[in-house]
């Protein structure tokens, strides 16, 4: 096998890390916003869009788009980290905190499954999406969230690798036992902490 051939002067898309930027191990900073998809972009009309909290709850909840827009909204500025090694710093989102959505929901469940149009799912411990750690976001950079980035609304859980932040999310199902989601059953890590580089199964 040949020694690795270095392509003179090739750097790829990586940027030099900003002064003081705190980036998890193995990540590089990008200025653009790469689009990653496991399937065709859904285009659910807002008139048909709903968001649900269901599963192991005393009373399932559901909001229409209008009802959802009427919920208290927050602006979130955060860094996001993709398992494919890019990080984007200081991203600005607008959305509804999961704490708001779970307010007055009674449950003994410990886990959630986020489910999306097109069939994508991601699984998380309930304690990772409460206490101000997660949102359902519908705006990015001051504009309505574009379909290619998960619009009308996506899950936003910045402290974990971004595959957990399910695009085109339509609900959270509360479950007693952890149910690995789309990528978790296909080789990715079940939890996905970027600071511990939990990228793949077995990490």
């Amino acid at each position: 096998m040949n020694a690795r051939l270095i392509s003179r002067g090739f750097r790829g898309r990586r940027q030099e890390p900003r002064e003081g930027a705190n980036v998890p191990p193995g990540q590089y900073v990008v200025e653009d916003f790469p689009v990653l998809s496991a399937g065709p972009t859904p285009h659910t009309p807002l008139a048909q869009w709903t968001f649900s909290i269901d599963g192991e709850v005393d009373e399932p909840k559901r909001w229409t788009w209008e009802e959802f827009q009427a919920l208290p909204r927050e602006t979130i500025t955060t860094d996001i980290h993709c398992v494919t090694h890019w990080s984007k710093l200081g991203t600005v989102w607008e959305g509804v905190s999961i704490d708001t959505l779970l307010d007055s929901v009674e449950t003994a469940a410990s886990y959630i499954v986020a489910y999306s149009d097109g069939g994508y799912t991601s699984n998380l411990p309930l304690e990772d999406v409460t206490d101000g750690q997660a949102w359902i976001a519908y705006a990015f950079d001051g504009e309505p969230l574009e379909p290619q980035h998960g619009g009308p609304a996506r899950l936003l859980v910045p402290h974990l690798y971004f595959w957990k932040s399910a695009k085109w999310v339509r609900g959270l199902r509360l479950v007693d036992e952890d149910e690995p989601g789309f990528w978790e059953v296909r080789g990715y890590h079940n939890y996905g902490d970027p600071w511990k580089e939990q990228r793949y199964w077995g990490d």
Binding site: N2, L5, I6, S7, F10, R11, G12
Partner: protein, 249 residues
């Protein structure tokens, strides 16, 4: 049509750039000398791998423009504005540089004279590249399969292989029809829009001739043309497409 040929595991080999040629302002061809090259079929591609000093690697696929009859392999690369690999290949690579190449790859989107004609080829932008290999293969074999090429480009300046296509279109049995989507030559009376079903109906070889159809270009063009031809009654089994993803601009 499957072949029972075994390729062996695809491995990376180091080739050398022996010639570069600017095709348009954004498109460049690289002619590669590849040691122990097993030969290829028209329509196949290679993967090219770049490695940064810190070990970071990027791999992209590029269609082979040259026919199997030529000893050196030519790839043609469109420089994508936000590309990671294409700007390096177009702007930085020089004659004499080594490049890591894997291939040839592909058995689905291939044509050889043994398959017979006629051929209806539909290309958009850099989608012309594998189709060019097919046309040049037909010529190199002195084969008389009829070929009609519908080529969509933004403007005449964006037509890749413009001079070669002019020469090829003068040969009996080879026709090239252009459609320009952004700007056209003065006095142009030809097509001035994106490929659509009406155009395909006018331009496509008659269904009764049972043409082999190869479509290559940006995904929306490739899928649109394929869907249009199926809607016109062409046999889906005779249509092969290769999607190139989003177009440059």
């Amino acid at each position: 049509m499957e072949r029972t040929t075994v390729l062996g595991r695809l491995t990376w080999r180091v080739g050398q750039v022996v010639k570069t040629k600017a095709e348009t302002a954004q498109v460049k061809s690289l002619v590669l000398e590849l040691p122990d090259w097993p030969g290829h079929r028209a329509g196949q591609h290679v993967d090219i791998r770049l490695t940064a000093e810190d070990g970071y690697q990027a791999v992209r696929s590029y269609s082979i423009a040259s026919p199997p009859e030529e000893p050196q392999v030519t790839v043609t690369i469109e420089r994508l504005e936000d590309g990671e690999v294409s700007p390096y290949l177009v702007d930085d690579v020089q004659v004499g540089d080594p490049l890591e190449v894997r291939g040839p790859i592909g058995g689905y989107f291939v044509w050889e004279t043994a398959l017979g004609g006629p051929l209806f080829l539909v290309g958009g932008g850099s989608g012309i590249v594998p189709l060019m290999a097919m046309i040049q293969h037909r010529v190199a074999r002195a084969n008389d399969a009829r070929i009609r090429l519908l080529y969509s480009a933004r403007s005449p300046e964006d037509v890749i292989y413009r001079h070669e296509l002019e020469e090829l279109a003068n040969r009996p049995g080879i026709e090239v029809i252009y459609t320009y989507t952004r700007s056209h030559p003065p006095g142009w009376t030809g097509y001035q829009r994106r490929i659509d079903q009406a155009m395909l109906e006018e331009v496509g070889l008659a269904r009764e001739e049972q043409p082999h159809i190869y479509i290559c270009g940006p995904t929306p063009l490739a899928e649109g043309a394929s869907n249009g031809l199926v809607a016109l009654g062409y046999e889906p089994a005779r249509i092969r497409i290769e999607r190139f993803g989003p177009s440059g601009r």
